[in-house]
Symmetry: C2
């Protein structure tokens, strides 16, 4: 049977992998996933280029694993707290509050990893772009589902189109992120919070 022979990893190797990928996720929000270079990444964490490279089969593989690392961070910091919330509307509030908080806290130096990646890869081709696009769709679908649940619970107006509503919430978050990073000014995040909270007021209709 052609089971792909997975080599087992040593503890120190796993530690290095994590360090590499975490640094890669950070640098990617500054220089882009494509602009990320193996050499500068190696310098940045004090490893040799070849030593670092040995962990991955190619730069594309590094990029793919970097995306997964960033996803994991987003899930831990933003999605999981939201899913722990009691009712549907509170889930939405927590989701975007956590999102904007993790930007303000500069978890990634260049703002939301996925906003950076989406803008950069928008018109490119290949598995990295495909994965990023897939994750964006999944995020939007989750928000839309939350909206639907909040409507079912009578917490949001039933006459709002959930996809449209989700689009607008995401728009506030993205604009807040880009403005904050570009001008280094939290006022943009405040605008985003204000817009989101206004839309997420309980049952106005």
């Amino acid at each position: 049977m052609a089971t792909t022979h997975e080599r087992r990893r040593r503890a120190d190797g796993e530690r290095s992998r994590q360090k590499i990928l975490r640094a890669a996720a950070n640098l990617a929000t500054v220089d882009g996933l494509e602009g990320l270079s193996i050499g500068s990444l190696a310098d940045h964490i004090g490893m040799s280029k070849s030593g670092l490279y040995a962990h991955f089969r190619s730069k594309e593989q590094l990029q793919l694993e970097t995306v997964e690392t960033a996803l994991q961070i987003l899930n831990t910091l933003v999605v999981e707290p939201a899913e722990a919330a009691a009712d549907p509307l509170e889930r939405l509030r927590t989701l975007y509050d956590s999102f904007l908080d993790h930007i303000e806290a500069r978890v990634f130096p260049g703002g939301c990893f996925f906003v950076s990646a989406e803008s950069e890869l928008g018109v490119r081709e290949g598995p990295v772009k495909d994965r990023v696009a897939e994750l964006q769709r999944a995020w939007a679908a989750r928000v839309e589902e939350f909206v639907r649940e909040a409507q079912a619970a009578g917490e949001l107006p039933a006459d709002e189109d959930p996809a449209q509503f989700a689009f607008e919430l995401d728009a506030y978050g993205m604009m807040g992120n880009v403005g904050f990073v570009l001008h280094d000014d939290p006022a943009y995040l405040e605008h985003a919070r204000a817009a989101i909270h206004r839309r997420l007021r309980r049952r106005r209709k």
Copy 2:
């Protein structure tokens, strides 16, 4: 006196410059302003690398002139039609309609030039980033001014904060752009149009 000796240009040189800068603006929305390479740009328009380079003192100079070229295109296609509109509210509608139209028409292959540039340069330093940030501020200030005028004319609710209102309009435009480019799906532009037109309804309060 240390007047910088400005060389006068020949007609064919000016034609080449325009061709270079227009192509550069296009490529920059795909590969980014930094990812733009002199060599591939030269190939793309059938010139030699050195011949192309002779038009600019440095890559940074090329980037700066590329930004100005893109600005001129945006002004012609989006801003000027809006300023020709009769009343303030119509100015806003025309501004964003033209904006979304120029994205859908793929005037730039990677969507709005400035959304790309803002995302890419957000956390960088240097004159190119400074110029892009300045232009973003100017755009937002213009929108805010249009909102104020529409309020003064009684066409928009007077209790809306103009800066907040402008932020939200821009958010819809940006999200529409990124979604459209990433998924190659006009539905995102439709969401943006719907959101903008809903906010730009005449005098609801």
